[in-house]
Amino acid sequence: MSLAIDVQGGTIRFGSFTAVNRVSIQVPKGEVFGLLGPNGSGKTTLIRGLCGLLAFSEGHATILGHDVAKQADLVRQSIGYMSQKFSLYADLTATENMDFYSGIYGLSPARQKERQAELIALTGLSPYLDRRTDKLSGGWKQRLALVCALLHEPRLIFLDEPTAGIDPVARRDLWDLLFRLAAQGVTLFVTTHYMDEAERCNRVGYIHMGNLLAFGTPDELKRLPNITPPGTLRIEIAGQDTAGVLARLKRHPGVREATIFGQAIHALVDAPCDLQSLGIEHLAVHQTEPSLEDVFVTLARQQAD
């Protein structure tokens, strides 16, 4: 199995501040890797390091077989990048933006035409080609940005919060697109704050203050021993008045964690746990698996302690 991304002990420091601390990630080709973490945890810095835009102070990174430190030009020719904030030229039309990036990536005129047609068909961008980019809605802007990042057929794409601030329909459409690309063998490195997006990734990592706290498939992470320690249970309590129940739960000595999830409460409790005193007999209580959110919240708390 060949790796698209292979970072070993990657560290990036700005003066005395360590933005990324000994991070090791291996992502096989054709996978979707999701990186999660609070704002300022080092996600964007890590991506900049992997693209060769920032130098690693320590450690070693290989992208698609190219050493990032020594072959930055080869790396840049084979990756696509879509940043968290929209960064196309607002005063240019969609076509002009595409033409510009085609030129920057050195596409021949024939190839450029062919490739743009393919990507326009893939994204459904054709009605908006002559529109100025600043007149496009958020979802279309992101699609155009994706097209511009895909023109040179990169084998690996970095997407830094690609769905931040776009509506749910556009978000789902974009993810459908991403999976279609992954099916074609393109590797995707996505940062996100959305747990449902994380659940869809082949592999996820959680970074907190520069440290990679967890890395693996979503199932592997949910089964991590320190997420549901021996002698505890994860339960879901569904029913009315979740806020009132939550308050009572939090006072109960056997309850380690409790959070509201829509109409239900997720809790981590000592097993066996006597919940009779809480007066919640009428509610449906059953054992459950941790969600990815449970995993990340637990990891972040443990890190803080």
């Binding site: 900049r48 693209c51 835009l53 920032l54 130098a55 030009d73 840049r76 020719q77 990756i79 990048y81 940043s83 904030k85 929209f86 960064s87 196309l88 030229y89 607002a90 005063d91 240019l92 002009e96 033409d99 510009f100 990036y101 085609s102 030129g103 920057i104 990536y105 050195g106 970095f158």
Partner: protein, 372 residues
């Protein structure tokens, strides 16, 4: 092959830059129209030659001799008599109120003393708040009284020595001839620096520069691609001001304009390099504008554009030599007013090329393809 790819990338950046310029007509308008407005202001309104100084007279003598003296003041065209007063107090009031810059008092005994062969005195008060006017007024007043004195002594005999000044290259000492060649240079400087700085800092603000850095494009290719359109714009501007200068202000161009354009090239490159250097250092357009003004100010004041370099203290003369604008203005006046050519101006060209190369190398080093 990779050279071709590099050219393609430079071309792509340049083409995109042209679209930006076309889509933002306000910036283009200000860049092109502002110098023209300035040209008309300087060309029409400003006259450094001091003429028609407002003058008030207190003629206490009221004789034929005093009248002759006053007429010679009026005839010089340097003094305009705005009014006659009859007391010393009024004379003072006119000066304090700013109604007159010069006050002339001819004492009551003026003619009597002249006829008696004694020394007659006249009082000339000059408002010193405008130093150039005051200086000129004193000089001309001295010259007039000196000539009147000689006339008194020599009667009808001719003056033993007569000087016949001939002012070369700008015989009428017209201000536009002096100002506009300098203006052409300063406006070029403003435009080249401001536009390149803006175009890069804007990309920084929008985050598009970061996006660009993720692509195979090299920093120097971005720089070259951006410089291309702005070089063309700057040359257009330079030529436009030259054409207006020739047609509207009737300033003759004695030398070869092509020579001048060739000398301007390294100057424009220096200014584009300065713009790149500034944009590498600043993260917002406001900060960048401050820095641009910071580089333009010394160029305006120390380059000889307004104040002659030769009358500056030694230290400032050395500083002036380090400013590219000084060399360019000198070359520009040389070509336009004195008809100078390569044999006189090759040192200027050499100095400007050295400055251009140094600036561009520095800017490239600063503008590395790394974010910090």
């Amino acid at each position: 092959m990779s050279f071709r790819a590099s050219l393609q990338r430079i071309y792509s950046v340049a083409r995109k830059e042209i679209v930006h310029i076309r889509r933002d007509p306000m910036t283009l308008f200000f860049a092109l129209a502002l110098p023209v407005v300035e040209l008309f202001l300087l060309g029409f309104a400003i006259d450094t030659n001091v003429r028609h100084i407002r003058t008030v007279v207190y003629d206490a003598a009221m004789t034929q001799e005093s009248e002759v003296l006053l007429r010679s003041f009026v005839n010089s065209e340097d003094f305009d008599i705005k009014g006659y007063v009859y007391t010393d107090a009024e004379l003072h009031d006119w000066i304090i109120a700013g109604k007159a810059k010069v006050a002339i008092k001819i004492p009551e005994d003026y003619s009597r003393r002249l006829q008696a062969g004694q020394q007659a005195q006249i009082l000339i008060m000059v408002d010193g708040t405008e130093s150039s006017t005051a200086g000129e007024a004193v000089n001309v007043a001295n010259a007039i009284t000196l000539r009147e004195s000689l006339r008194q002594v020599l009667r009808d005999r001719p003056l033993p020595i007569e000087s016949r000044p001939r002012i070369l290259f700008n015989p009428d000492t017209r201000s536009p001839n002096f100002f506009i060649p300098g203006l052409m240079v300063v406006m070029c400087q403003m435009m080249a620096t401001m536009l390149t700085t803006n175009s890069i800092v804007k990309e920084k603000e929008l985050g598009t520069l970061e996006q660009l850095f993720m692509t195979p494009v090299l920093a120097r290719e971005v720089m070259l691609g951006k410089m291309g359109p702005y070089i063309v714009l700057t040359f257009l501007e330079f030529t436009a001001i030259a054409v207006l200068m020739r047609i509207v202000f009737q300033v003759p161009i004695h030398g070869s304009f092509v020579t001048l354009l060739l000398i301007v090239l390294p100057f424009v490159l220096t200014m584009l390099g300065t713009g790149l250097f500034i944009s590498a250092r600043s993260s917002s357009r406001d900060a960048a504008s401050q820095l641009v003004i910071g580089t333009v100010m010394p160029s305006v004041f120390l380059s000889g554009y307004v104040f002659p370099v030769d009358s500056m203290p030694l230290v400032f003369r050395y500083i002036a030599k380090c400013i590219p604008t000084t060399w360019m203005i000198d070359a520009c006046r040389g070509v336009i007013l004195r008809g100078a050519g390569w044999s006189e101006l090759w040192t200027h060209s050499l100095v400007l090329w050295c400055m251009a190369i140094a600036t561009l190398v520095l800017a490239t080093i600063r503008f590395r393809k790394k974010l910090t």
